[in-house]
Each structure stands twice: as C-alpha cells, then as structure tokens.
C-alpha cells in the first residue's frame, strides 16, 4: 500500500528540473514560432492561428500523415505478433539463452544513420546482398530507388529487422517470470497450448506488452533518421513520413512558422493516441 506523502515531491524535483529544462524551453520556442511570421532580421509579427489552418488544410500534410499512420500500423501488426512468437519459442534455460539474447539485441545497438546507410547499400541491385538476391537469383525486379512499392517494403523490412528484438526481449522477460507451477497445473488440467497461451502467458505478458506497444508506437511515429538515410523520402514522395516532411519544411525551405505549427499538431496526435493506448491498457491495473 502506498502512503500519502507530499514531501515525495522533493525526490521528483531533480527529474522535473532536468526534463523541464529540456522540454519546456524548446517547446515554448516552437509555440512562439507557430503563431508568428518573420521576414528575417529577427523581427517577428503576430500571425495568429493561420499556420495551423494552412497546415491542416494542406494536401501535403494529410498525405504525409496518412503514410505515417499506414507505416506505424503495418510495423505494429508485424512486430508485435512476430516478437511474441519468437519470445515464446526461445529456450528458457541453458547456454543458448545468453547467445540468443546477445545476438538479438545487436541490431538495436547500431546507430540509426548506420542502420539506414547499411540497408541502403544492402538493398542496392547488383552490389547489395538483398538487391543481388532479389534481382539476379530470384529474378524479381526490385529497385527501391525507382519503385515506390519496393521502397516501402525495404523501409518496413528494415524497421522489422531493427526493432522486433525490443518486443522479443520485453516479452521474453515477461515469460520467464511465470512460475513453473502454473505450467504444471495447466498440464494436469490438460490445457491445450492455445489455452496455456491465452490464460497464462498472455496475461503475464500484459504489462510488458503495454511497454512494447507504447514504445514501438511512439518511436515509429517519430521515426526520422533511418528512412531518411535509406530512401531520402523517395522515390517521389512515396516514403516521405511525417518527420521527413517536417524537416523538409523547417530546414529545407526554412518556413519556421508552418513547420512549428505542423510539429505541434503532430505532437498532439502522438500524445492523443499514446494516451488512449495507455489508459486502455492500464485501466484494470490494481493501483
């Protein structure tokens, strides 16, 4: 049982100062930009909410948002079930456990621009392993610099390669915490493997799955470096996800006002969806 103690605030203060310094000041700057227009020389004019209206109405933003939701939906639909399946079939004891864990965690430890760069060359026709295999061995025409579908597949396969292990590690940690007695009881009752999964393993994994889904949602919704290095948003605009579009506006065209408005809308959407996930998944937790 937790006790009520307002002095606990002092324990939280260091975190508050640190995060507020990092979060509030940049956030205020962005809010400032989003309601102002500038003609250079650091003179700003009040613009009101025009940028917000302009962004929300623009086809470009709606298209990028659509692609972003599609991307996130696809990778969640692949990575979460795949992560659960791999975690379920991993050995529980023995020397293979550390081997599996270390090997599986390797992709996550590679800096994001390196991931993008290595997959870029990996997928090139003729010189990359994947490109060579698809074009010269299987005879499928596959070129992500030309074909939007190939670019999409490459971006998704890269993300699955990069992040499924996070789901595996979290689920595995949830699974090893289940006492053997549960399985023995299930065996005596003659439970099918599906019943064991549905009534023992899945409930035990619920908290780790909450973390996995939330982290994967947030990070995939904000993904920037890897797809940018991989495809640069192309061919055309086909893989221009929200962050890539945002940077194009902010740093490419230096339209700070619209970019700031767009990032606030973007942030609000992420926040809203995460909050819905968070409340849905923790609503029957005993607190």
């Amino acid at each position: 049982m937790k006790t009520e103690n307002q002095k606990a605030w002092f324990f939280v203060l260091p975190v508050l100062f640190l995060v507020a310094f990092n979060a509030l000041v940049p956030m205020m700057t962005v809010v400032n930009y989003s309601v102002q227009e500038t003609f250079g020389n650091n003179t700003f004019f009040w613009q009101g909410l025009d940028w917000f209206e302009q962004i929300l109405r623009s086809d470009r933003f709606q298209a990028a948002l659509g692609r972003q939701f599609m991307f996130t939906a696809i990778i969640l639909a692949i990575e979460i079930p795949l992560g659960i399946i791999v975690a379920l079939s991993m050995p529980r004891k023995g020397i293979w456990v550390p081997v599996c864990l270390v090997l599986m965690a390797l992709p996550m430890l590679i800096p994001w621009n390196v991931v993008g760069a290595m997959w870029n060359i990996f997928a090139l026709p003729k010189i990359g392993m994947l490109g060579y295999f698809m074009n010269d061995v299987l005879g499928v025409h596959y070129d992500m610099t030309q074909d939007p579908l190939a670019a999409w597949i490459t971006v998704i396969v890269m993300d699955v390669w990069h992040w499924t292990s996070l789901v595996v590690l979290l689920c595995y940690a949830g699974l090893v915490s289940i006492p053997d007695a549960y399985y023995q009881a299930a065996k005596i009752d003659g439970a099918s493997p599906w019943a064991v999964f549905r009534y023992i393993q899945l409930p035990k994994m619920k908290t780790v799955l909450t973390i996995a889904i939330l982290l994967r949602f947030m990070d995939s919704f904000n993904i920037y470096t890897e797809p940018f290095v991989l495809t640069g948003g192309g061919p055309g605009n086909s893989t221009t996800l929200l962050s890539i579009d945002l940077v194009k506006i902010a740093l490419g065209q230096f339209d700070l006002g619209p970019a700031a408005a767009m990032s606030l809308i973007y942030f609000a959407i992420t926040l809203l969806v995460s909050w819905v996930f968070y409340t849905l998944m923790t609503k029957d937790d005993p607190k």
Binding site: V15, M129, A250
Partner: protein, 265 residues
C-alpha cells in the same frame, strides 16, 4: 532438436545477414564493393580499419561518443532513482499526471526540436560540449529510466524500508546500503536502455556539436566526398559502432532476462 527452436534460428539468421554483410564489406576495397556482389572478400584488406585507428578525427569520434553516452547514463540513472522511489512508495499531488507527462517527452518529434535545442544550448554556452549531448539525451532517457526503476522498486516489499528505520538506519544509508543492492538488476537494465538509446541517437548529437564533441555517427558522413562514397571505410566504421554495444549487452545479458522477471515489467 525440437521443431520450435527453428523459429529463433531463422529469426537470428535474418538479423545476422545484414550484419554479416556489413562486416565482410569492411574488409573489401571500395572498388570490389562497387564491382558487384561477392559473398567473401576477394582481396582481403585492413586498410579501412588502419585509417580509422590512425586518424584522430575518426578515433576521437568514438571517444566523444563514449564520453557523452557514459555521462548521460550516469546522469539519467542518478536523477531517476529518487524519482522512481517516490513514485513507487508514495502517493502525492499530481503523481499520475506527472508520470504520464514524463512519458510524453519521448513523443516530441526530435527533428523539429533540434533547432530550438541548438538555440537553448547556445544561449547557456554549453554548445559543442559532451555535457550538451548528455543533457539533451536525458529528455528521452530519464522517463524510460524512471519507468523501469519504478517497476523494480514496486516489487520490493515496503516492510524492508520499515525494518531498516526500526534498526536505526537514516534514509540515505538505508537507500545506499540496503535498497540499491536489492534493485541492482533494475539499475543494470535501466542503465543498459539509457546507454543504448543515447548511443544510437544521432540527430540531436549532431546538431549540438561542431568540433570538440563530434560523435562518431557525425564523423561518418565524411565518407561521402567528391570522389564518391568510400564504402569500405563506412562499413568499417559501422562495424566498430556495434562493438561497444555488444560488450555492454554481454555484461548485462543475465540482468535483462532475470532482471525484468523480478519486477512488474
């Protein structure tokens, strides 16, 4: 061998293919890489590695990265510990809201916040220092560290705290002598996650540094020159970025499985 173990084997094979390819590419000459796909290096060369280990810009890139990542890990865990303790033991005004607010800091699109970050860190005069990157990375690492540590602390019964007070321990002594050893695995897991996310992040690291604290990920853009990409060098540098992570994960591998199993998570 049971049929079930085929799934992890295939999965690991899938993970290893691009890595194997990156490592072999680092032993090839750029000409061989561009000439076409080969499974093994035809002309084995260590030139790329020699360049990296003899050129100060290259190896300082690694040293800079390691400095700010370590700084960030220590800082994140140090401030997250008391906060996680407060969240796991007490109820106070706005605790749940605060917890979710912390979480929201992972959601801010870093791509756009990079510019305000640059302005902020320039105005407090810590631009291009290791501290700047370490501080910036706490934005997304501290919330995660608090979250993980809170889960571990919650699984420690409150009676432990009370017994210690009855025995006459002061709070700091209790926290360091008794409480910390009990959640050692949690600290390991939290530190690992901080290390990992700080090591791989590069947008903020690149924006907040120029010369003195330039991370390896930014140095790597040097491989693209007017003469085209030096792919061998890029591959060698990429291969070397995996090694520190692999060492860290080797040491915490037991904590990760056993550690998570202890707590709520």
């Amino acid at each position: 061998m049971r049929k079930r173990s085929l799934i992890p084997i295939f999965y690991i094979l899938f993970l290893m293919l691009p890595i194997y390819w990156l490592v072999t590419m680092s032993f090839k000459t750029t000409n061989e890489i561009l000439a076409g796909f080969t499974l093994f290096p035809q002309t084995f060369t260590l030139d790329s590695y020699i360049t990296i280990f003899t050129d100060p810009t290259w190896y300082w890139g690694y040293i800079n990265s390691i400095i700010y990542v370590s700084l960030n890990t220590v800082l994140s865990v140090a401030v997250a510990l008391p906060a996680a303790y407060a969240f796991s033991r007490y109820r106070f005004l706005g605790d749940k809201q605060l917890f979710f607010w912390l979480l929201t800091n992972r959601m801010a699109p870093a791509a756009v916040f990079a510019l305000p970050f640059f302005q902020l860190y320039s105005s407090v005069k810590i631009f291009d220092t290791h501290l700047a990157v370490a501080l910036a990375h706490t934005l997304f690492n501290v919330p995660l560290a608090v979250w993980i540590l809170e889960g571990f602390m919650r699984s420690i019964p409150k009676e432990l705290d009370e017994t210690a007070y009855v025995d006459g321990y002061s709070f700091p002594r209790f926290f360091i002598k008794i409480f910390l050893p009990n959640i050692g695995a949690g600290v390991g897991v939290a530190a690992f996650f901080c290390f990992m996310f700080s090591w791989v992040e590069m947008l903020l690291a690149k924006t907040l540094t120029a010369v003195e604290a330039k991370p390896i990920a930014a140095v790597m853009t040097r491989t693209a020159s007017s003469a085209g990409y030096e792919l061998g060098l890029l591959a060698a540098a990429g291969t070397l970025t995996i090694i520190p992570g692999a060492i860290v994960i080797y040491f915490v591998r037991n904590y990760i499985a056993r550690g998570f199993a202890m707590g709520r998570v």
